[in-house]
């Protein structure tokens, strides 16, 4: 009679399948998501039922926080460099290569152009201090906002303007911005909102 052999079960599990799953998920996340961009101000957007998605590229982003400070940002590092040198030539400020490089890494900013040099020389962590960014001047006496928009517009005609304002922003600020955009003949733009469910909106 042959001896009954008891097979010892191996404790090694084949990890290949697990690996497949992990990388499949990874690929999915990489393709469907986009990086959260750090914005210069915390903005709580109002809700609307509009379902139009925000375009990803070629956006001039105008941020307005609850206190009415205006921030500005465009996408694309090359575009940012070109924008800053253009603004520099308008205001007779020479930005060197390092400053341009530094500026190209900033998503949005809210300092007057005259203080831009000091702003760029700060460390990235220091720039977050809300006391440093007190908004881009957009009064009729010193309307730098207007120059930023027209400089950005001159880079490319494809840019879309998007305004992201806080729910609690006072209307006069918005009116001022809209007036400036109107003067620049920018009559179509997007207002960024968060989605509101339209359950109770059904018309009977």
């Amino acid at each position: 009679m042959p001896k009954v052999k008891i097979h010892r079960k191996s404790t090694v599990i084949d990890m290949t399948a697990m690996c497949d799953v992990a990388f499949l998920l990874l690929t999915f996340f990489m393709l469907t998501s986009n990086f959260t961009r750090k914005e210069a101000a915390l903005i709580n957007t109002p809700a609307s039922i509009s379902e139009i998605k925000m375009p990803e590229r070629n956006v001039i982003l105008i941020l307005v926080d609850a206190k009415g400070k205006v921030f500005f940002g465009i996408d694309g590092q090359d575009n940012r460099m070109a924008l800053l040198s253009k603004m520099g030539s308008t205001y007779n400020i020479r930005f060197n290569q390092e400053e341009l490089k530094e500026f190209s890494l900033i998503n949005s900013f809210g300092v007057p152009v005259t203080r831009m040099k000091t702003f760029l020389s700060m460390k990235p962590g220091e720039r977050d201090d809300p006391a440093i960014s007190n908004g881009i001047p957009c009064d009729s006496t010193d309307n730098q906002f207007r120059y930023w928009v027209s400089a950005a517009r001159s880079l490319s005609a494809d840019y879309r303007i998007a305004i992201k304002a806080d729910q609690a922003t006072a209307y006069p600020v918005i009116k001022k911005l809209m007036g400036t955009l109107q003067e620049l003949k920018e009559n179509r733009y997007n207002l960024i909102t968060s989605l509101e469910t339209a359950d109770d909106l059904e018309f009977k």
């Binding site: 290949t16 990874l26 909102t193 018309f203």
Partner: protein, 214 residues
């Protein structure tokens, strides 16, 4: 492959070469995969922000033939006041008689009900169109096309949105939203006039005196 060939050449005399296991331990690879997933999940967002498209009239004076005169009977003026208050009146000042200002709210029973009432014909048409679409009679694109045709109705009300300096951005978005919900195509954001401010001031003053007499 190369290794096997090498073994073949050298190993003649030494006898059979040991077969190397082709199994690779994938555990560290899995670790790496999940680490990267975690990173991507934390560092990215899935949802794109929503936007509302808006087109404002240009500042150039329109030519005479392009100008539309608003018929007083069709005009609705919405006033945005302090503390999320919203008022409306129909028509304009005529023959020295002020229009009646009414206060309402952003609740579904407030401003929306009024606007739906004003725009009832269009609302019914759009609803019927939507029902047709749900029965798969035509595509989404056709639906949008026909809807834009319907809401251009000449009899539909024309809304003037006037935000006072005390109002906030949210109120403006809410009103623009109501325009979309109530299928109102013709609306404009206009500067508030002293006349409108007077109307609001009178109304709040009347309310206060009314409360006092009670």
């Amino acid at each position: 492959m190369a290794e096997i060939a090498q073994n073949h050449r050298r190993g003649r005399k030494k006898g059979r070469a040991k077969k190397l296991s082709t199994r690779v331990d994938f555990t560290p690879m899995v670790d790496l995969g999940f680490l990267l997933i975690t990173f991507f999940m934390l560092a990215t967002t899935l949802n794109k922000p929503q936007t509302m498209e808006i087109a404002l009239p240009s500042k150039d004076k329109p030519k005479a033939e392009e100008q539309t005169t608003v018929k007083a009977s069709k005009a609705v003026t919405i006033l945005l006041g302090k503390d999320n208050k919203v008022f409306y009146y129909e028509g304009t000042r005529e023959n020295g008689v002020d229009p009646v200002l009414k206060q309402t709210s952003f609740a579904p029973t407030g401003l929306r009900q009024f606007l739906i009432g004003k725009n009832y014909d269009v609302m019914v048409k759009v609803r019927n169109l939507k029902a047709e679409k749900d029965k798969k009679r035509f595509s989404e694109e056709d639906f949008e096309k026909q809807k834009t045709e319907i809401i251009k109705d000449k009899k539909a009300p024309i809304v003037l949105i006037k935000a006072s300096d005390d109002s906030v951005y949210r109120n403006l978005i809410d009103v623009l939203d109501e325009m979309a919900i109530c299928n109102i195509d013709r609306y404009a954001i206009v500067d508030i006039t002293p006349f409108d401010l007077d109307l609001i001031a009178n109304m709040t003053a009347e309310k206060q005196t009314g409360n006092e007499t009670k």
